[in-house]
């Protein structure tokens, strides 16, 4: 019996080739566009996230400036005189040391922590970059370049030169591309760094890097750890930051809180360090899904309309079939299988078209830009999107076919036969 119903469904579909083709195209288009949209937008998000991560450590431990200076007077008053009240108005910072104490102990402890894969000490300082009349403020980071390589892939972000140049060159420095452009220096030129306290040192530019984030590329310079210590006039134990790479990046927030408690210094995870970018990522994610599902729903309405029209034009046939003993269930089977056939064929074509379109977009060269280092438009190929698209396409066609089919099954044949 099912065979007869499917036969009827098939013959009706084939005899209305054009209408069937249009319905299939509707599904194909909806699914292809959904896949393209979601792959492209997710690819963009992924790219931005990666750019963010490539310049931010998972957790960053540093000595935050505190505004609680009570300890500066406790020794003087409370140790000797009990129950004494002292009021101090508007305390000022005094002898602020930005360095971390017991750096080696902390690093050893971190290296023994199973959640941590790599650590790297860092000395960072605000500096002025001087090259002739141009004076720019920025940040210099003194790093152990070999350990730094474990944290992020600097070698791949280089526009000119090589991170290893720092090891061989005397007073070598790597500049952000934006910074180098503003200073108008290239590899081989020299640049002078001034600290806020007035000390200065000459460096040789041995490379430029570009992370694709203006905030980094326009202000940051990287050199050896001892160079910065020398610039600041500090000893070899002077370390201001520790960068930590975790096994599981999602645990960053939790681990940061633990580190803060354990070591008594500020520990910032990558999410809070990039909170504004994270917010835009969330907005973009929501936008992606809203637009993509809107596309599928529009396609669904298209299918609904076509199925509805088909059934309207088949009213007489439905009445004939019913008069000959076909039940409401048979009618539903006939029309539902028609829309499912349309849905399945449309979905298959949609997946193929969606993949081809996504692939085409991923081969479009990205317009060259100083801020973003992208060769092609970012597209993420992930099978989950395809499953999602097919699942949604299938459900949409099912509903779009089911509603008019149920309506048709309830039709009173006499109402149609009587005219």
């Amino acid at each position: 019996m099912q065979g007869t119903n499917l036969d009827i469904a098939k013959i009706q579909l084939l005899s209305r080739k054009r209408q069937t083709a249009i319905a299939i195209l509707g599904v194909t288009f909806g699914i292809a566009m959904f896949i393209l949209m979601i792959s492209f937008m997710k690819g963009t998000n992924e790219f931005l996230l990666e750019a963010m991560l490539s310049s931010t450590p998972d957790i960053h431990i540093f000595n935050d400036i505190k505004t609680d200076y009570s300890h500066s007077i406790t020794d003087e008053y409370f140790d000797t005189v009990p129950h004494h009240l002292a009021i101090v108005h508007h305390t000022r910072p005094k002898n602020i040391h930005k360095n971390l104490k017991q750096v080696n102990e902390i690093i050893t402890d971190l290296k023994n922590n199973p959640a941590v894969t790599a650590t790297s000490p860092l000395v960072s300082s605000h500096v002025f970059f001087n090259c002739g009349p141009v004076q720019l403020n920025g940040v210099v980071e003194g790093v152990d370049i070999k350990e730094q390589a474990q944290l992020y892939d600097l070698a791949n972000k280089m526009r000119t030169g090589n991170p290893d140049n720092l090891l061989s060159a005397d007073n070598g420095i790597l500049l952000g591309q934006g910074l180098a452009d503003k200073l108008n220096v290239q590899m081989g030129n020299s640049v002078t760094l001034y600290t806020p306290s007035g000390k200065f040192m000459r460096f040789n530019v041995v490379g430029t890097f570009q992370f694709g984030i203006g905030l980094v590329d326009n202000i940051k310079a990287i050199t050896n750890i001892n160079n910065v210590q020398q610039l600041l006039g500090q000893d070899h134990g002077y370390i201001t930051d520790i960068q930590v790479k975790l096994k599981n990046i999602r645990e960053a927030g939790k681990q940061a809180t633990l580190f803060e408690k354990r070591y008594g210094y500020k520990a910032e995870d990558w999410k809070s360090a990039n909170s504004s970018l994270m917010a835009t990522t969330v907005v973009r994610d929501v936008l992606t899904y809203v637009v993509s599902f809107a596309l599928l729903i529009v396609a669904g309405f298209g299918i609904y309309n076509i199925m509805n029209m088909t059934i309207m034009s088949k009213m007489k046939d439905i009445a004939i079939l019913k008069a000959q003993g076909f039940t409401g269930k048979d009618i539903i089977t006939i029309f539902l299988s028609q829309s499912l056939i349309i849905g399945v064929i449309g979905s298959v074509f949609g997946i193929i078209a969606g993949f081809l379109l996504s692939y085409a977009v991923s081969r479009i060269p990205f317009p060259p830009s100083d801020l973003v280092s992208l060769k092609f438009f970012p597209v993420l190929f992930e099978w989950r999107f395809y499953i999602l698209a097919v699942g949604f396409g299938f459900i949409t066609t099912l509903i779009a076919g089911l509603m008019p089919a149920i309506k048709a099954s309830k039709l009173d044949p006499v109402a149609i036969l009587r005219g």
Binding site: M1, G3, T4, D7, I8, I11, Q12, L14, S15, R16, K316, D317, A319, I320, L321, K322, A323, Q324, G325, F326, T327, G328, K329, D330, D412, P413, V414, L417, R418
Partner: protein, 231 residues
Amino acid sequence: MKEILKAENLHKYFHDPDEFHVTNNISLAVNESEFVTLIGKSGCGKSTLLYLLATLDTDYKGRIQINGTTVTGMTQNELARFRNEHIGFIFQFHFLLPEFTVLHNVMLPALKLNKLDIGTIENNAVDKLDQMGMKSYALKLASKLSSGQQQRVAIARALINTPSIIMADEPTGNLDSVNTGIIFDIFKNLAQQGNSIIAVTHDKDFAANSDRTIEMADGRIHQSINNQKPV
């Protein structure tokens, strides 16, 4: 003689646009192998009565029994099954499925009934078409035939499940005189073969050839005439 169809006290109302009493307390019976025609002016309720008897319309008061089974009160699905097996219905406008071949159209009710294998059904369908003189058109699309040919196919379709009763709603109403003559002869043959037939018609000659003619007026049975058995 066995009563193949029995209707008691049928009342049917149309509610739209105004309340209208279409069939008023109609009772009738059709015997086995009897050829009954229903005549009457337009709007007298004869087609409506036929739809009630054919179980296509269930919104009525009264009781209908076909081949010993009370069909009043059956669910839509039970009725569909019952129609499939026991009633062969012929419409004024042939009502074939246009995308299907002639043979497929005839086979469909049997395929739905699903009592025989497909080969037997096909042989039966070809036999019925042969009986209607339509065998050579078996593989043509239904929409390619003329009205008269389509009506002959529709009759073949009505016969495919060897129904207890054949019901026809003005089977010649849409045909020219030549085709009317052909359909006429077919019905005569069917009656001679012992089929129970109830047909609505406008055609006096057609009615005169049946065993009994029931004339309707204003929703009631006006008179019942016994004709001479056709030779």
